[in-house]
Symmetry: C2
């Protein structure tokens, strides 16, 4: 018998169905940075117009962005983060950090964030319960669908 084919049911896979694509996440990045308009996103992401149009549509459909009329006559729209969209911040931050660490040239990271605590923001992923930084080795699967 060939492969039984048993794709894992998994929140990661589901999440990637929606945001698992470059332009989608870059559009979200722009909104986090305050650029909510189509043309601005085109400029700052470099996405093709058609592609951005499509991505924005799926992001809106997924409840990550909201399309907002800021002018009738002529109709003009802005994209705002919903709660679900704001909850993507951790994803963006971890990607940012990974890129900073593994893909930055000698000039260092091109975009630096500062936390209100006064320090440069270095995002870490910690366990809500104990506050420790999470390491793959300190993590185990619980209950369902084994290896």
């Amino acid at each position: 018998m060939a492969a039984p084919a048993d794709p894992r049911v998994c929140s990661i896979a589901r999440a990637l169905e929606v945001v698992g694509e470059k332009w989608a996440l870059l559009a979200v990045r722009e909104v986090f940075l305050g650029n909510r308009r189509f043309d601005e996103m085109i400029r700052r992401t470099g996405a093709p117009r058609d592609t951005l149009t499509a991505r924005l549509r799926t992001l809106v459909a997924a409840g990550i962005l909201q399309r907002h009329r800021y002018s009738d006559h002529p109709q003009r729209f802005e994209y705002h983060l919903t709660t679900a969209g704001r909850d993507l911040y951790p994803v963006i931050l971890t990607l940012l950090r990974w890129g900073d660490e593994h893909l930055a040239g000698p000039e260092g990271p091109p975009l630096v964030l500062e936390h209100t605590c006064g320090h440069l923001l270095v995002p870490e992923v910690t366990c809500q319960a104990c506050g420790e930084v999470v390491d793959p080795a300190e993590t185990t699967r619980r209950s369902p669908t084994g290896s």
Copy 2:
């Protein structure tokens, strides 16, 4: 004048060039879960064979995975995480959490992790300096390339 077109130089964009695709990250997920072989990844991700082949190649080229012969005669390979690959754990965890919160059905998350501290793992992103959970509103851009 039309759009000046000024795509942001950004670690997020760079990171997405490498891991900004569903199958790439799902392959990495499988390796984290201990499935290091091609066929196993095919089974558990649902990716087309050709696509997985291509993704594994770029992941290896990017220094995220390492291809390892575990048998000559017949030649057989496994994929292992490099340090850079292990550093993707935070990205995976934040995606997992987002999916758990926004895409899980009433049966709850299909995959649950446990931290060595004894509690279920709920990953949070915190500021390395002050330990506080990071909120988009408490974050500002520093120095380079404005809005």
